[in-house]
């Protein structure tokens, strides 16, 4: 099977992506990934093309820093052999294709709806008819949690099958947050509208998603941005990482009822978030990242404030995390809770923190570098136990690492370049082009793909939040744990509902 190798943020004409017949497409892609831990599927989706469905598969090679593209044309009514039976990486992707286009798979292990998207092929199916995995036993019992979350965060339904206090099986049903973001990208034609959409894919990964969208758009428009734009994006991404990781540590402490940690980390997160307010006027960093330009130039004053904020942050953070991860009662809750084995991590194909918690080095900042990361000489932080404790420790070290990057970044602020916002938003996109963009948000790999039609309009926009891969990791990690440890496992992954539901 032929494939086309591209780099991150590169765009290529759609016809250059080789098309193969389904069987060789399947075997070829499985062969590409077989026995190679550096390769995983970053996106696999379908696009309606006349009567047919054209499937695109994007497999990233982390050591070669390339993404291998292949495609295949199938009939919507066809019954296909499934990738997932051979490689679980594809499980969610195939379910999505099945849901959107009605393609059926003969040997898919778990062919269930993903999110009940508004454009699903079987409009008759819905939340109320979701086919839950059932039990027929006198000894076991089921516990259903949600869709309204106890802390009223985001909606999702969790169905546990338990033996007393022990979880045997967890099934996660999402889709309550579906807004049809991918469809909205096609309908909203203005650049500002699209950038605003990207900001609202997941409220906690504003920088990650908007950056991915911006690179993608620039690649499609053929626009080269200068250093100050790259600088702002890299800086903002690391501030976001620090803020959310600190907030997560606070939430982990709340879930194990460790009040001191909960309130101290909560307090520490606030000035970091508030720093965005000083920079761009919004605490959630909305409007900070825009395609082609940077609307809020970085100044010496802001750099000084950043150093002030983190000079106050670091000593308190160090002291508190030291205390927390030394306290016996905390350790007894974190260690050996929610463990995933290396084999499982690999099979599911998790990304970001959920991969790095168990020796799997997946970090777009090194594997497909972008922005100013090549200059930072980034070294991913990897842990080896795959439990809640590993995930807490990754956060601790990533916060420290990000702060050191921030400190070194602000020593040389690039000169401001002048951009004309109107000219940028009116730039035409290349016709019949495929573009792929990946960024490393705080949660992990974010992947956006766009395809334009012959007039240069978007024909397809595909978003993949890291949560899409990682929800399955949560479901597997809680097996054989106590049901009362579920919240802490959930929080340690801290996956996005709306990022998954789109």
């Amino acid at each position: 099977m032929n494939y086309l190798s591209i780099k991150n943020h590169q765009s290529v004409p759609v016809d250059t992506i080789p098309e193969s017949e389904y069987h060789s497409f399947l075997i070829g892609n499985i062969k590409l990934m077989e026995g190679n831990v550096d390769r995983h599927c970053v996106n696999y989706f379908g696009m309606r093309d006349g009567k047919d469905i054209r499937l695109f598969c994007c497999v990233a090679d982390d050591s070669a820093h390339t993404i291998m593209l292949t495609s295949c044309r199938v009939d919507a009514k066809s019954n296909l052999e499934s990738f997932s039976a051979l490689n679980l990486n594809f499980e969610k992707f195939e379910r999505e294709i099945h849901e959107n286009f009605g393609i059926s798979y003969s040997n898919h292990p778990w062919l269930k709806p993903v999110r009940y998207s508004t454009s699903r092929s079987d409009a008759g199916s819905g939340m109320m008819t979701y086919p839950f995995f059932g039990i027929d036993s006198e000894e076991l019992h089921e516990v259903g949690v949600g869709p309204v979350h106890a802390g009223v965060i985001e909606p999702g339904h969790f169905r546990f099958i338990c033996n007393g206090e022990q979880i045997l099986h967890l099934e996660i049903q999402l889709g309550y947050q579906h807004r049809g973001v991918e469809q909205l990208f096609l309908e909203k034609k203005k650049l500002l509208q699209r950038a605003t959409l990207a900001e609202n894919i997941a409220g906690d990964s504003v920088i990650g998603h908007t950056t991915a969208f911006s690179y993608l758009w620039e690649s499609l428009a053929g626009l080269e941005v200068s250093d100050d734009v790259l600088f702002a994006r890299t800086l903002a991404q690391e501030i976001e990482r620090t803020a959310i990781h600190t907030g997560d540590l606070s939430a982990i402490c709340t879930d194990i009822a460790y009040q001191l940690g909960s309130s101290v980390f909560g307090r520490l997160r606030t000035p970091v978030i508030n720093y965005f307010q000083e920079w761009c006027g919004n605490r959630l960093s909305k409007s900070l990242i825009r395609p082609g330009r940077t609307p809020y130039p970085y100044t010496e004053y802001l750099a000084g404030r950043l150093i002030e904020v983190f000079d106050a942050f670091e000593p308190d953070f160090d002291e508190m995390i030291e205390q927390t991860l030394k306290l016996p009662s905390v350790l007894s809750r974190l260690e050996r809770t929610g463990v995933l084995t290396y084999q499982q991590v690999l099979e599911i194909g998790t990304v970001g923190m959920s991969a790095r918690m168990h020796s799997l080095e997946r970090d777009i900042r090194t594997s497909h570098p972008y922005g100013l990361y090549p200059l930072l000489d980034h070294n991913p932080i990897v842990k080896h136990h795959g439990d809640v404790h590993s995930r807490a420790r990754i956060r601790r070290e990533e916060v420290k690492q990000s702060i050191s990057y921030l400190r070194s970044l602000v020593t040389k602020i690039p000169n401001e370049t002048h951009y004309d916002p109107t000219a940028i938003s009116n730039m035409p996109l290349k016709p019949d082009t495929f573009a792929l963009s990946m960024t490393e948000g705080w949660r992990g790999e974010i992947c956006h793909v766009a395809i334009t039609d012959s007039r240069g309009e978007l024909a397809l926009y595909k978003i993949k939040d890291p949560s899409f891969h990682n929800w399955l990791a949560l479901a597997l990690s809680v097996r054989n744990n106590e049901i009362s440890d579920f919240p802490i496992c959930n929080k340690s992954f801290d996956l996005s509902y709306c990022g998954h539901d789109l």
Binding site: G144, G164, L260, S263, L327
Partner: protein
């Protein structure tokens, strides 16, 4: 009679002190001492909502729970002042009165048919079962030591004036403090602040209660706390005159509340499976008290 009045008096601000301590420890200002009480008055003015799946048991349970604790409070003496009700073997009556209240709580939780509440009920039943031996071995040992079987007589006859005696006093206080934490579903066994149903013990059992019923259950919790505080205080104020006993009693209750607040601030709660071990370990401390008593009585050679 004074004993009962004092328990009601202390119950008015006991939880307020715990919450205030926790707030201060977390660097916050915190609500006023009487905020929990105000919340209860707010709930008392509200109507209750009942699920259609529940039966009369669900409506009855809060009242039974409340009356059982009030009844148990009537059994607690105050130093040299007798309790309202006192008879031979009243500590057994005391334990099973609380047991009755708990039993109704558990079946009322099961009555709702919710899978959460069933889980909470099962946990509560398990933990109470493990806590029971600790209480009886403790009280039994002191009954053996003093030769009496009612609270009033036991407390007035205890003279912890040897080293072994002091050790017994400390251990007894420890067992009672921890029992109070378990019985009132506080940390480290249960986290009263959590919003996560899956980790709750007591809180999840009252998820369906609302309005007046909820207010009653909450107030009963405060009363129960003060009740245990009074029990602990009695170990130390046994034979003291009223003017010395009263400040000591209030001091002990106050320190108890502050201690609970501090424990809840500076440690994480136990893993659910460790709770049973922890509670069962209390019984072994009670056994130490039993052996201490045997030592004092010279029955161990």
């Amino acid at each position: 009679m004074i004993g009962f009045i004092l328990i009601v008096f202390v119950s008015l601000f006991f939880t307020g002190i715990i919450i205030r301590t926790k707030s201060l420890a977390a660097g916050r200002k915190g609500p006023g001492i009487f905020q929990p009480l105000k919340d209860i008055f707010r709930l008392f003015r509200k109507g209750s909502v009942y699920s259609q799946t529940t039966s009369f048991i669900f409506r009855l349970a809060p009242l039974v729970y409340f009356s059982s604790v009030v009844m148990a409070s009537l059994l607690i003496p105050f130093g040299v002042s007798r309790a309202v009700i006192g008879f031979e073997g009243d500590f057994i009556f005391f334990a099973y009165l609380l047991g009755l209240g708990k039993f109704f709580n558990i079946i009322s939780a099961m009555d709702t048919g919710s899978s959460f509440e069933g889980m909470g009920a099962s946990r509560e039943a398990l933990f109470s079962m493990f806590a029971e031996p600790a209480f009886f071995i403790l009280m039994g040992s002191f009954a053996l030591l003093t030769g009496f079987t009612s609270f009033y007589d036991i407390f007035n006859a205890i003279h912890l004036n040897s080293y072994t005696g002091y050790a017994l006093g400390v251990m007894a206080a420890l067992v009672l403090v921890l029992l109070a934490m378990i019985e009132n579903s506080r940390m480290p066994v249960d986290d009263p602040k959590t919003h996560l149903e899956l980790t709750m013990v007591h809180e999840v059992m009252i998820l369906d209660n609302s309005g007046f019923d909820l207010g009653l259950i909450l107030y009963t919790g405060y009363l129960k706390f003060a009740l245990y505080g009074a029990l602990i205080a009695n170990f130390f104020i046994g034979g003291l005159a009223l003017n010395a006993a009263l400040p000591l009693y209030l001091l002990i209750q106050f320190s108890f509340a502050v201690a609970v607040g501090l424990i809840e601030s500076f440690m994480a709660r136990f893993r659910m499976s460790h709770n049973a071990q922890f509670i069962f370990a209390l019984s072994s401390v009670s056994f130490l008290i039993f052996f201490g008593v045997l030592l004092i009585m010279g029955k161990l050679n």
